[in-house]
Amino acid sequence: MIIGRYLMRSQPINKLLLLIVLTIGAISSAYAQDARLQFDRLNGLEIRARDVVEVNVDGKLLELAKRVTGKLNDEKAKKVAQAISGLKGIYVRVYNFEKENEYNMADVDEIRAQLATPRWQRLANVRSKRNNQKIDVFTMFTGDVMSGVAVVLTESKSIAVVNIIGPIDIEMLAELGGKLNIPTMDIVRDQNDEEE
């Protein structure tokens, strides 16, 4: 409403400048949101899965977490602060199943289809016959700046999808797990694996 009043009263050149600024803002915002994946198809898996981990950290929650890292003056907090400093959101879904083939691969393929656009670049593609493991790592760049990361992992008894919005150092993040003092969440191995 304020913008509308301003447009009515201002000079034509000012109107043009304002429109350009708004357009650029809208485009950059849209680009940033582009990195966000839709997890709607995975919602039905919650009923069938044995364990479910769902994490949505963005907006005020993320700002709060950033503030906490400033308060906690330890190594772990510093690493976390470094990792999340430029982030706009972190979304994680993990489903562990009791038995094999309890989920429909089409649900995960729908997410992989979202990543099959020119804006997402495949960073890693791991395929293993053991556990029917498939891991895809994608990154999205806006100019020279990373604007998103996506990790999609499927195994015979588990699904894990990670979507990070904003720039992040992937190598640093890969090494971070052991330093967070949290037991690394490995996908459940089947009996054959344990025997091996």
């Binding site: 950290v57 890292t69 976390v80 791991v126 797990g177 969440m185």
Partner: protein, 192 residues
């Protein structure tokens, strides 16, 4: 009128003598009045001296007290920092923890000045006392370190750590797989 009598009281002059007799009541008396004798400087000095001395001692005591207070150890500054942190973020929980800390800190005034290396305790009681003070000081420092977080802050932080941990573990799997394949490929080439 006899001039000589007027000047040096030689000879006689009845007129002047009668005048002298009439004015004799106003003649100067050489002795000091009793009131003036009581207000002599010596008696005033002896009367004020104890008050001045007491005031001087009181002033010195105040100055010494202020000096000691300003020489309080840095522990006080640490507690101020802790309070500042608490105010900036999580408020009441951390602020509540401050008063007991301040109570424990006060005795440090006397232990900070002579360090353990410089002044050896002479008696068993002194040694015990200094050890106890040192323990209290370390306890105070330990108390000040934990940062109180609100449930919302704790939840937000835990969520982020969990998300990063999961992401990290998945990326590590990929990294290990890629590195493993590279090692295997290098090993294969060496065998050939």
């Amino acid at each position: 009128m006899n001039e000589e009598y007027l000047w040096d009281k030689t000879g006689d002059d009845a007129e002047i003598e009668s005048l002298e007799a009439q004015l004799a009541v106003f003649r100067y008396e050489p002795t000091a009045s009793p009131a003036l004798a009581e207000n002599s400087p010596a008696s005033t000095k002896s009367y004020r001296a104890p008050w001045a001395l007491g005031f001087a001692f009181a002033a010195m005591a105040v100055v010494a007290g202020v000096s000691l207070w300003s020489m309080l150890p840095s522990v006080d500054q640490e507690s101020e920092v802790a309070v500042a942190d608490a105010i900036s973020g999580d408020g009441p929980a951390a602020v509540e923890a401050e008063p007991p800390v301040a109570e424990v800190v006060r005795p440090h005034v006397f232990t900070e000045m002579p360090s353990a290396e410089k002044v050896q305790p002479k008696t068993y009681t002194q040694a015990k006392r200094s050890r106890k003070v040192a323990e209290t000081r370390s306890a105070v420092r330990v108390k000040q370190h934990p940062v109180e977080l609100t449930p919302e802050e704790r939840a937000a932080y835990d969520q982020v750590v969990l998300a990063l941990s999961i992401t990290s573990s998945k990326l590590k799997m990929v990294q290990d797989k890629v590195n493993g394949d590279r090692v295997a490929a290098a090993g294969g080439r060496d065998n050939k």
